[in-house]
Symmetry: C2
Subunit: 236 residues, 2 copies
């Protein structure tokens, strides 16, 4: 997959940014935002392109502005675990070792706001509120990661799939509003690698749920016909 990276003229303004309110930048005031604008540059990636890879030296941080990304780790023999899906507003790339600790690629077209590591580090340096915001995002992610450990270690295939649908729907609420129609831009393989299952099991589980009238498999997603039933299956 060749990286066809388009760099736009940097006329994009933070104040017009779609993720202004939810992203790291929500902690910045008007004056700071001006300065911040010059730090980031908008970069586009097309479907399937890799934004950064595990073990790469970290040269940039990324703020996802548009689209969906899969974050994953690979074992040497090719087994893959997707550790999360990123949505607009998510901040990616923070680490303590100087190297990325997972890979990230675009699911469909993606726009990110890219920050070179050093200037971003300098900008953050004495801005307590921005650091606090980043810390808050890290803690929130840590919490999600722990929830996902429970899913991976202690839930059945049915529970995993049901929990995934609900969790994904929930994450979309703040972006597209609440709805029983859940778009699934990622492939079945992606879902399988996120849930610690095989593609066949994911497919069979969807089909089973549909046969039971709990969901309907639609183009590019699923529709929750009986959300209460799905919640019961997820067995929180």
């Amino acid at each position: 997959m060749k990286p066809v990276v388009t760099i736009e003229p940097n006329w994009q303004l933070c104040s017009d940014c779609a993720v202004r309110a939810s992203a790291v930048c929500s902690s910045l005031d008007g004056i700071e935002l001006r300065e911040f604008e010059h730090l980031g540059r908008r970069v586009h990636f097309s479907s399937g392109e890799t934004v950064f890879s595990e073990e790469d030296i970290t040269t940039s941080f990324y703020n996802l502005v548009e689209g969906v990304m899969r974050l994953y780790k690979l074992l040497t023999d090719g087994r893959r675990q997707i550790v999360g899906f990123a949505l607009p507003g998510d901040f990616l790339g923070m680490n303590v070792s100087g190297r990325h600790n997972f890979s990230a690629d675009a699911i469909g077209a993606v726009t990110v706001c890219q920050f070179a590591k050093a200037p971003f580090g300098r900008f953050i340096e004495d801005r307590l509120h921005l650091l606090r915001r980043i810390n808050e995002l890290a803690i929130r992610e840590l919490n999600q990661a722990r929830d996902h450990m429970v899913l991976l270690g202690r839930r059945s295939a049915d529970e995993k799939v049901a929990a995934f649908l609900l969790g994904w729907r929930e994450r979309l609420v703040s972006l597209t509003g609440a709805s029983d129609t859940v778009p699934l831009p990622m492939s079945r393989q992606d879902i399988a690698d996120y849930l610690g299952l095989t593609i066949e099991t994911v497919s069979r589980t969807f089909t089973k749920l549909e046969r039971h009238g709990v969901i309907e498999i639609i183009h590019g997603g699923i529709s929750l016909l009986d959300p209460a039933k799905v919640e019961a299956l997820a067995a929180a």
Copy 2:
């Protein structure tokens, strides 16, 4: 398990603290440390006691000073996932919701340095270096959490056990020095709940490794007879 909490007279000094160099407090200078001393109070817990529970309103943060703790989440039907083991120097209790997102109890006798949430929050308020340190710890933990997701979702029982032994040994290096003798203060059930296995599978796997001359099961732990073999089994 009734909480027999002993509160010592607060003559304990941070400067004498065993975890002074590795814990959050490593970011504090001499003057700050004096003030910090008055914020925390040493509390002891005996084996099996719960320090805090998931969903409890967070009133305190904890710095583990001595002993080992298990951090876990429960499903309503009693299934348990241990999301981590805490060792001296680990900082526990940070969250964004105001409630703990996992439970923590003592494995063997434990000493913690307990900080009331509000004063600690005030102390942190304008101390960039302390916040940075906390952020660093959170990011490090997030990284660990992601590694553990790979283990839970994509590794076989043998790989899980081998990776656990190596990972645990590695964590002990900074505390007790490098050694092929790995103490395991936690029960087989704890190990199983950490690895997403049953107690029987953990036991069988240990026995198998011993039969193959890779490890030796000793009282209170295991000994790595062939560390290279264990590493090969872990299949990084």
